[in-house]
Amino acid sequence: MVIDTTKCVGCQDCVIACQAENNVPQGFCRDWITTEAKGKFPTIEMEIRSERCNHCTDAPCISCCPTGASHYHDVGGVVLVNHDECIGCKACIASCPYDARYVHPEGYVDKCTFCIHRVEKGQDPACVSVCPTHCMHFGDLDDPNSKVSKLLQSRRNHSLLPEAGTKPNIFYLT
């Protein structure tokens, strides 16, 4: 996923769309808005980002899971949790440097699924499809000709905490 921070206005439509689409319980969120201000007055820079699970290629949440509930989906390596296998030990929550997971009130651990149920039907994730500024793009990063790959080739971008070594798969255009 590629997100253009120069377009994001932090309206939280993506957050609400996710909650509605995925029946996220009240008081919880699978995606959220982060605002980062840095620099020295008067040259302060601000970045507004829509954040969620980074669907890491080297996902520590998967390698620490004792039951195999956390796993890579066959399609595009999306990181998912199988609710019926999760015992709620919370090791995965402690292992995620992005704090992208939470305990669902029903007892299993939950997080962003990249709306895999929509993606499998050829649709975009709910957050991507509702964004009023069209700042989010979803596609195959392994395909050099995909829109997301082209955006990354042509624009300056960064991922979050690459130093944590998890190989995150969400990139922010700046």
């Binding site: 959220w32 030990c89 402690a94 704090d99 939470y102 130093e163 944590a164």
Partner: protein, 313 residues
């Protein structure tokens, strides 16, 4: 400046991670105590001390059995999806420390049972007289007893180091990203167990031996804590600031007062006086060591959850 604000508000995740409460530190502490007791009792078997009527190798397996079960109960209570606990045992996930731990814990029970067979309880022999035959076979074979001792020490060490590896395998928490956390938990388990056995041992030789051993373990523990802190301070910036949580930050008072002062230095001082016959042995020092070990687990689990990669910003 660098200021980050977020709209995320997930319970027990924000503002700081608090998904593990009392259950996990209690489980890690009891795991450490059992590890220490198994190593001590295995060592006595290896040394042939089972020939002594009052050898602690005859009752430590019972105590280990109870403590391990209480520890596993605490772990169970921590699970959010309790009815699915059996899922742990339908798979083995080679990269998951927790999966290793669950299987090691299951293997430890039969080993404790074999230890118990050396002097089985009357309740068991009344119901199953064959157990007496097994006991006879075991007691006749010195080499078997030595091997049981080695196996008991081996699995004891396994549990002890696993309790540390469990945390240090979770690299997202800088305080736990230390390759010697296992050593710290193992040595702390040994010092707690030695203190405990020193108090309850019926055999005078064992009492004195364990007081001396405990002093050695406490001194080693101080060194391991120093190495743990130095390791973090000289690593990445996030790890250095995680170490500061213990040294000068939010957890400094519990770390210095309860873990280092009341949990190691003062009891070490009292026990050194006692083994040098300056004062009588008192159960106070061992008690302080045991409580210090428990607080150590609480401090490491809480401060570890508090430490974060974003501390860099």
């Amino acid at each position: 400046m660098n200021e980050i604000t977020t709209t995320r508000h997930n319970p027990f995740i924000d503002p700081t991670l608090q998904v593990w409460n009392w259950e996990i530190p209690v489980y890690l502490f009891l795991g450490g105590m059992v590890a220490g007791m198994m190593i001590i009792s295995g060592y006595f078997l290896f040394k042939g001390r089972h020939k002594e009527e009052n050898c602690s190798c005859y009752y430590l397996p019972y105590i280990s059995f109870v403590l391990l079960s209480v520890g596993m109960l605490a772990l169970f209570l921590d699970l959010e999806h309790k009815l699915y606990v059996w899922r742990l045992y339908t798979t083995f996930q080679i990269t998951s420390a927790m999966s290793w731990g669950s299987w090691i814990l299951v293997l430890v029970y039969p080993i404790l049972f074999v230890n118990i067979l050396l002097r089985p309880p009357k309740m068991l022999t009344d119901k199953f007289p064959i157990v007496i035959e097994w006991q006879k076979v075991l007691l006749e074979k010195t080499s078997w007893i030595k091997n049981i001792g080695v196996l008991t020490m081996f699995f004891g060490a396994g549990i002890g180091l696993y309790t540390g590896v469990l945390l240090s395998s979770l690299g997202a928490r800088p305080l736990w990203s230390s390759s010697i956390l296992w050593m710290l938990f193992l040595i702390s388990g040994l010092s707690g167990a030695a203190a405990f056995v020193h108090v309850i041992a019926k055999d005078a030789y064992e009492r004195v031996l364990l007081a001396k051993a405990d002093n050695a373990f406490l001194i080693i523990e101080l060194f391991v804590i120093a190495l743990f802190i130095i390791g973090l301070k000289t690593a990445t910036e996030v790890q250095a600031s995680a170490a500061d949580l213990l040294l000068v930050g939010k957890f400094a008072s519990s770390f210095w007062v309860f873990v280092i002062g009341l949990g190691i230095i003062i009891p070490l001082f009292i026990q050194l006086l006692a083994v040098n016959h300056k004062i009588n042995h008192t159960p106070l020092a061992p008690l302080m060591v045991i409580i210090g070990g428990l607080i150590l687990r609480f401090v490491i689990v809480s401060a570890g959850q508090y430490s974060h990669w974003f501390a860099l910003n």
